[in-house]
């Protein structure tokens, strides 16, 4: 059975929990997406952009030295970090930019956490000549300052959101408020497989290219399908993009890594599939971190891109059916994995992706099979340039004096309009 159904439900999840004012725009978007799926011109144009602009296909890297670290398991890295703008987010954004053009809209808005989706959106807007506004939580503008600068260089307006938790959730609230006000002229490019129908389905379809490529690359390289696919899960777009073409391959384990923050047992985390309850946030029903009254809980994660209380509805569906499994990975384990990958393979990945590596290591260790018999694909969803500052502090690579000086510079930057 294929999900979602015609009204966007993945079993008990998904749907459209939105103000009536947005329904017409969602219908328009669903129709545009449906038409595009079978339109050879649209498909050729997207294909052209993915190849000649985004740099697809991304390689599948055989990580030999990392393999030694795991007792000999064969670890293949799907290199979304090598896509233009440095993460998988560009796959979705190029698709939605083409739809924006097809719908005749000229203004685009987006939310962003780590800034990767914001950068990808700003990039596509520059390429297509759209006006672009990106909403970003104030805390995230601080911890991902490099990406704020990138977006501004690309001509986007970055709005720092100081309400609520000052992270991805509140950036999304502000983007939604902008959208209900300006929906006539504006397309909201949601950055993950979250939000009201058709977003979870549409974003999945645009990210599916990751899994389609990886499946063939793995067959070519190893001669068989992998034993597991491992990906980090914020909203869940890089994970579902990788998982999607393998859903019917029952021998392939689908393994998701959520942000465990200080540890799921402490309550300070961002792992709704591991420790949340079904609820409604930002337009769809899915697992959610919420209190007894249904108020959204504050999240904790070192990774801005995973620091979100909700998750895409298809992941909730896969969780309940048991087809995929999800585990919280602590900040400490993710950062340790980031360093291992850097030192064994010379790849500095995004902190989001580092959660997937940490989970790959623990998954391999949990198997009864000899690690040497295992083949695991890890989605390297993004590169780590944006995180160098956070990592340098974490590992104490900069002196207290240097930290103080850079805080001062940031404070001054913050004062400027």
């Amino acid at each position: 059975m294929s999900v979602p159904d015609a009204s966007g439900h993945f079993g008990a999840y998904g749907g459209r929990f939105v103000p009536e004012a947005l329904v017409a725009a969602l219908d328009e978007l669903a129709a545009a997406h449906e038409a595009a799926r079978t339109d050879p011109v649209f498909r050729a144009e997207l294909e052209r952009l993915l190849t000649t602009y985004a740099g697809r296909p991304t390689p599948l890297t055989d990580a030999r030295r990392l393999s030694e670290h795991t007792g000999g398991a064969r670890i293949l890295l799907k290199r979304e970090d090598l896509a233009h703008t440095g993460s998988h987010k560009i796959n979705n954004v190029l698709g939605q930019a083409l739809l924006t053009k097809a719908m005749g809209k000229k203004r685009v808005i987006a939310e962003t956490g780590a800034g990767q989706h914001g950068v990808a959106t700003a990039t596509a807007c520059a390429l297509f000549g759209f006006e672009c506004t990106v909403y970003m939580g104030e805390e995230d503008t601080r911890r991902q300052a490099l990406n704020v600068a990138r977006m501004r260089l690309l001509g986007a307006e970055v709005v720092s959101v100081s309400s609520g938790t000052q992270t991805l959730k509140d950036a999304t609230n502000e983007a939604m408020r902008d959208w209900v006000t300006n929906v006539d002229t504006t397309h909201y490019v949601i950055g993950s497989v979250v939000g009201p129908h058709p977003f979870p389905m549409m974003v999945r379809n645009f990210q599916r290219v990751i899994g389609v490529e990886a499946r063939q690359q793995c067959l070519d390289l190893v001669g068989r399908l992998p034993d597991a696919l491992v990906a980090c899960v914020g909203g869940g777009s890089n994970a579902i993009g990788l998982f999607s073409p393998f859903l019917d391959d029952s021998g392939v384990a689908l393994v998701g890594a959520e942000a465990g923050g200080d540890g799921v047992e402490t309550g300070r985390h961002a792992a709704p599939l591991t420790a949340g309850e079904p609820g409604v946030l930002h337009g769809s029903r899915s697992y959610l971190m919420q209190d007894e009254d249904g108020q959204t809980l504050t999240t904790t994660s070192i990774s801005a891109g995973l620091d979100y209380p909700g998750v895409g509805p298809e992941h909730s569906y896969l969780r309940d059916s048991g087809r995929a499994s999800y585990t919280g990975i602590t900040d400490a384990d993710a950062m340790a994995a980031l360093q291992v990958l850097a030192r064994t393979e010379g790849i500095l990945c995004a902190i989001e992706s580092a959660h997937a590596f940490a989970r790959a290591f623990s998954w391999i260790a949990e198997q009864d099979a000899d690690p040497q018999d295992l083949v695991v694909i890890v989605n390297t969803s993004g590169r780590g340039d944006k995180d160098v500052d956070t990592a340098a502090r974490w590992f104490g690579l900069v002196s207290a004096e240097e930290v103080a000086r850079s805080e001062l510079v940031r404070a001054r930057e913050g004062e400027q309009p």
Binding site: S7, G15, R16, F17, V18, P19, E20, A21, L22, V23, A24, A25, S163, G164, K169, N173, M176, R177, V180, T181, N182, V183, D184, E277, G279, V280, L281, H282, G283, R285, L288, Q290, E292, D293, G294, Q295, T296
Partner: protein, 263 residues
């Protein structure tokens, strides 16, 4: 039969619109919110919408969002919302809850409908729920004889307005400006067009909310709608001038809906 039918019949008899006033429960405190709502009723408000504070109120502008957060920070819980309904319903005016879906979903909507009814509530306005997602909620409303009130917007097609008209009881809520809540300086003619479009699809009374903030605007909207809904302006009055401010503004608005401007 909706509990609101009497109200709308009476207003028609008096050749005026009804005034529906909104304040969030627990803002700035449980006690003061109840006093302010009571003052609204004494000043001539016909029905009260008790706002259920929520951490992520997507349809609210800065004034109401801040009030929701302040209410939550003051420790407001679901039980306090229902207690507020009970206190306001005791004044004798129809009392509804305006609530985002997740808190209701979390409470369990069948149990919530039962408890709302027990508290004396007559219905619930659900700004982020559309009829297509609500069959079980509609069932719970039928079982407990509550009015489900969904919204229509200027972007709604005629087909969708008809869907909402069939699902609603009591009245149809027309959020007549695209965007979040907040006081506006002009009524604009889009609201009138939307009301006409709603009337073509359903016999239910039409309530208009679009940021009305004074008596003159209330009179203008009363000229073409069955009810005028006021929210942000009352929240601001409460924040700035306390219960007396709410009483004064309510009296002015009540005067406005009694002198419909049909020019």
């Amino acid at each position: 039969m909706s509990a609101l039918d009497d109200l709308f019949a009476r207003c028609r008899g008096e050749d005026r619109a009804a005034l529906i006033a909104y304040l969030p429960a627990g803002f700035p405190s449980y006690q003061v919110a109840v006093q302010a709502m009571t003052a609204m009723v004494e000043a001539g408000v016909d029905a009260v919408e008790v706002g259920m504070p929520y951490s992520d109120p997507l349809m609210e502008g800065p004034v109401i969002s801040a009030a929701h957060q302040a209410s939550l920070d003051a420790g407001t819980r679901q039980a306090d919302v229902l207690r507020t309904v009970e206190a306001v319903a005791a004044t004798g005016v129809p009392t509804l809850v305006m609530g985002y879906w997740n808190p209701v979903h979390r409470y369990g909507f069948a149990r919530w409908a039962a408890d709302l009814k027990k508290a004396g509530g007559v219905g619930a306005i659900t700004p982020d729920l559309i009829p297509e997602e609500a069959p079980q909620w509609l069932e719970a409303c039928r079982e407990h004889d509550l009015d489900p009130v969904f919204l229509v917007a200027p972007s709604s097609s005629d087909e969708r307005i008809a869907v909402v008209g069939r699902a609603n009881r009591g009245f149809v809520y027309a959020a007549a400006v695209m965007g979040v809540t907040g006081a506006r300086t002009e009524v604009g003619k889009g609201a009138r067009t939307l009301v006409e479009r709603v009337r073509a699809q359903t016999p239910l009374p039409v309530a208009v909310g679009l940021g009305v903030s004074n008596g003159a605007q209330a009179a203008e909207v009363a000229g073409f709608a069955d009810a005028v809904v006021v929210g942000s302006a009352l929240v601001r009055a409460l924040a700035d001038d306390g219960v007396d401010g709410v009483r004064r503004l309510s009296a002015e608005l009540a005067q406005g809906v009694r002198t419909p401007d049909r020019s």
